[in-house]
């Protein structure tokens, strides 16, 4: 390994790497945000939904969670186009990750909500709170604290899963790195550097999660 030559190559390749990094961050951010919104619906349906809705959503989460992300990515790119929904590689990739994220967030939220003792809902009813109020003042805040660490974990998983989109030709960080390696023949160095960037993204997510945890912690 020649650090000077690698530094030079890295400098020349700064734009492609930044573009790839931007792509990875946007894919992950979109998938995490959309997946969380959808996941909240999934989690609420699983916990409080009417029986038919609960069964339907249960089927959805079990199916998605039992499928490898790679299969979801390929399915949203190839299978959907045959039924007339022709998504670009980027859209298909974000869709697959969103769906995957939503099933995980749904399960996390269900677990968090079910861990709250039933007595609290009964007490809320006894003092005349509607369900909406019960959720906003009693269940929601507690569930948020419960779910946060697992949610941060899922968010980090999404960043790592975004590498799979390189297979359908989305120019995210991994594909950009492979493009550079093919030209420079410096595989070890560039893979190591890409690993460092992925670590940095996930480290930032983890710290953001800790910050929110601190802010929402019950003062003792």
């Amino acid at each position: 390994m020649d650090p000077i030559r690698f530094g030079e190559m890295l400098w020349l390749a700064r734009m492609p790497i930044l573009k790839g990094l931007g792509m990875t961050v946007s894919i992950s951010a979109l998938a995490i945000i959309l997946g969380t919104l959808l996941g909240i619906f999934v989690g609420l349906s699983l916990t409080y939904g009417a029986r038919p809705l609960r069964w339907l959503v249960r089927g959805y989460t079990d199916f998605i969670r039992g499928t490898p992300v790679l299969v979801l990515v390929l399915a949203s790119y190839y299978v959907l186009s045959t039924v007339g929904l022709d998504l670009t590689a980027f859209q298909a990739g974000v869709l697959a990750l969103t769906v995957f994220c939503s099933s995980h967030v749904g399960e996390i939220l269900r677990g968090a909500l079910q861990s709250i003792p039933k007595g609290q809902i009964e007490a809320a009813k006894a003092i005349g709170l509607t369900f909406r109020e019960t959720f906003a003042y009693i269940l929601g805040p507690q569930a948020l604290r419960q779910a946060l660490p697992a949610w941060v974990n899922t968010a980090a998983e999404m960043v790592k899963a975004s590498t799979l989109l390189s297979i359908i030709g989305v120019s995210e960080l991994l594909l950009r790195t492979q493009e550079l390696i093919s030209r420079t023949f410096m595989s070890l160095e560039f893979y190591f550097f890409a690993g460092l960037l992925y670590f940095t993204i996930n480290y930032a997510i983890e710290h953001l999660g800790r910050y929110v945890e601190r802010k929402t912690a019950v003062p003792s």
């Binding site: 790119y77 190839y78 299978v79 186009s81 594909l175 093919s182 595989s187």
Partner: protein, 280 residues
Amino acid sequence: MKIRMKLVAAAFAAGSLLSAASAQAQESKLDEVLARGHLIVGTGSTNPPWHFKSMSDELQGFDVDMGHIVAEALFGDPDKVEYVIQSSDARIPNLTTGKVDLTCQFMTVTGERAQQVAFTIPYYREGVGLMMKAGGNYADYDALKAAGSDVTISVLQNVYAEEMVHKALPEATVDQYDSVDLMYQALESGRSDAAATDQSSLAWYMAQNPGRYVDAGYGWNPQSYSCAVARGDMDWLHFVDTALHEAMTGVAFDTYAASFKKWFGRDLPPPQIGFPVEYK
């Protein structure tokens, strides 16, 4: 890789069942492309000199040039082409699901693949070659062969690597390496006497490092590289065939030859004038 290919195949199989139901008589892809105003070509981005990104982040290479040649034939403008980046596993599914009009991605023609997509005429013949350091211990292929087991050959790690080298040099010692850079490094540092890999890769590497290396002058394991289109559209296949054919023998020969020179470092003799070369 194997598993990934199976997954692609499975995803595609599920898709084709659905599409078979909606299959119908359609106008040719040729009309569709002309009406759209640009061509959509599927290719990769990680294999020089075939398809890779330049320092300024532009897609380039011999496969990419084939796309430009077809665009020129269609619209009289080589730049009216959009490239869809795809992995090697995605070459066939992207054609059969209509994501791309044409795939040019160093695709080896095999009977198995020809059952799934329609191959155009070949635009390159690939083979394995041997690259040595200029001014090294051995002059050429015959010298390497005569040296028997004293010769060490570096190759990319592969199940068939040993067998592949022994087809040309039956007694040579074979050292397998994980990546292309390590394989070339072994040659550079003298740990191997020659590197054996695709001739196009060798030609590209030699063109990048002029005067440093020489070709041993022997090629084996021939395979044809062709572009491919979806099956069942003779008009479109015939058009692409014509465009490629005329690039190798007719009006667009200069474009083809310039590209060949750029990526493989060799000048092509112009096609013989008079009686068509195809029938000589």
